[in-house]
C-alpha cells in the first residue's frame, strides 16, 4: 500500500472488492471483502491490517477535534445544455 491516510485527496487503494479512498478529512471504505482460508486470503488480511494500522497511526498522532465537518453536496442549478 502506498496510500498515506489523510495526506491527500487523490490516493486510492483496493483490496479485492474493498476500495479505500483517501481524503484530508476522511478516508472512505466501500465494497466487500472475502477472506478465504488460503494464501490469497492471508495476503488480503495482511493488506487490510496494514491499511487499518496506517489509519490508526495517523489518528493517534494528531490532536483530534471532537468531530470534523463532513462535506454536503454544494451544487448550483444550471440550464440543461442538451435540451
Amino acid at each position: 500500500m502506498t496510500m498515506k491516510p489523510f495526506a491527500d485527496d487523490t490516493a486510492s487503494t483496493t483490496i479485492g472488492e474493498l476500495a479505500a479512498e483517501n481524503g484530508a478529512s476522511a478516508v472512505m471504505l466501500s465494497g466487500s471483502l472475502e477472506i478465504t482460508r488460503d494464501k490469497a486470503g492471508l495476503k488480503r488480511a495482511q493488506a487490510l491490517k496494514a491499511l487499518a494500522d496506517a489509519i490508526c497511526q495517523e489518528l493517534e498522532m494528531g490532536d483530534l477535534p471532537d468531530s470534523v465537518e463532513v462535506a454536503a453536496a454544494t451544487t448550483d442549478d444550471v440550464a440543461n445544455p442538451f435540451v
Binding site: D9, T10, S12, T14, I15, S30, A73, V78, P81
Partner: protein, 278 residues
C-alpha cells in the same frame, strides 16, 4: 441509414466464427468505415462491430474528444467536463486477469491529453459531497497502467455515494460474473442529463441525473440499466432502443433493431431487490 443492412446486424453473429467468415466480415466493416457517420474512432477494438456509439442529439456531440486507453475508450465532453460515454470489450480472460490483480494502489488525476479549462479538476470534487464515480470500473482493469487510466477524471462523473458505493458496484460485479459465464461482452457506460435544470459542481462539472450501462453479449442479446443519481437510487432495466431515446446516444449502432427493442431479463439492483451473484 447506410451500412446497416441485414448482413451487418451484429445480432446475427454466432458466438464463434470460422476464420474465413471473420475475414469477410472484417472486409465488410472496412467498407462501412468509409461512410462518414461510421468508424471515425481511433480505437475500434473497444466497440461492438468496431463502431463507436453515435449521439443522435447533436448538442451532445459538441466540444467532445475521443480518448483511447488500454482497456476502454472515452468520449469526453468539455460541456459537462465528464465522459459522455466510455466503452469496453470485456472477455473471460480480461476478467480473470482483473480479478487476479487483487491489491491495487492508484491516484485520481486530471487527464494530460485535455486542456485544463475543458476538464474537471481534482478540486471540483474535493469536499463536494459527491463521489468520483468511475464509468469504466477500476475492477475491470487488468494491470496497473490500465487501472491508472481508469482513475483519470475523464473517466469520472459526480455520483451520489449511495449509488456509487453500493448498488452500482454490485451491478459492475454482476457484469464481470456474467462475462465470465458467457465469454465476452461489449459494455458502454455513461451519464444521463434529463430535465430542464441540471446541477453543477463548483459551477464547472455537470452532475448527471442518472447513470446508465448498456450491455451487448454477442449471440445472446442486449439491454441496459439506468439508475437515478440520488441518495435512494431508483433502478430500471430497459431496452437499448429505450436507452437511446432517453440519453440521445445509441451505444451499439450496428446492432439489429430487433435486438435493440428487447427488454432484457437483467436483475434490478434497486434497494431490497439486489441479488448478489458472484
Amino acid at each position: 441509414m447506410p451500412g446497416t443492412g441485414p448482413g451487418h446486424d451484429l445480432g446475427e453473429l454466432p458466438l464463434k466464427l470460422p476464420r474465413r467468415t471473420v475475414a469477410i466480415i472484417a472486409a465488410t466493416m472496412t467498407l462501412g468505415a468509409i461512410q462518414p457517420a461510421f468508424a471515425t474512432t481511433s480505437c475500434p477494438t473497444h466497440f461492438a462491430g468496431g463502431v463507436e456509439p453515435m449521439p443522435s442529439n447533436q448538442k451532445l456531440a459538441r466540444a467532445t474528444t475521443e480518448l483511447c486507453n488500454r482497456r476502454f475508450a472515452v468520449l469526453h465532453s468539455a460541456v459537462t467536463r465528464t465522459p459522455l460515454y466510455v466503452a469496453e470489450h470485456l472477455t473471460r480472460a480480461s476478467i480473470a486477469a482483473a480479478r487476479s490483480y487483487d491489491l491495487r494502489d492508484n491516484r485520481f488525476h486530471a487527464d494530460p491529453r485535455l486542456r485544463s479549462a475543458d476538464q474537471a479538476a481534482l478540486a471540483d470534487y474535493v469536499r463536494s459531497g459527491l463521489d468520483r464515480g468511475h464509468m469504466a470500473p477500476s475492477g475491470d482493469m487488468t494491470d496497473e497502467e490500465a487501472d491508472y487510466e481508469s482513475f483519470s477524471l475523464a473517466n469520472i462523473v459526480p455520483q451520489a455515494g449511495a449509488l456509487n458505493r453500493v448498488s452500482w458496484a454490485d451491478m459492475e460485479n454482476y457484469v464481470r460474473t456474467l462475462t465470465t459465464k458467457l465469454g465476452e461482452a461489449y459494455v458502454v457506460t455513461g451519464p444521463a442529463y434529463e430535465g430542464r435544470t441540471i446541477k453543477a459542481l463548483n459551477r464547472r462539472v455537470l452532475v448527471p441525473t442518472s447513470t446508465w450501462k448498456a450491455l451487448y453479449v454477442p449471440g445472446q442479446g442486449a439491454g441496459a440499466w439506468i439508475a437515478t443519481n440520488t441518495a435512494t437510487p431508483r433502478w430500471q432495466v430497459i431496452s437499448i432502443a429505450e436507452l437511446t431515446r432517453r440519453i440521445g446516444i445509441d451505444p451499439f449502432p450496428r446492432l439489429a433493431a430487433a435486438t435493440k427493442g428487447k427488454v432484457p431479463a437483467f436483475p434490478n439492483f434497486g434497494r431490497g431487490r439486489a441479488k448478489r451473484e458472484r
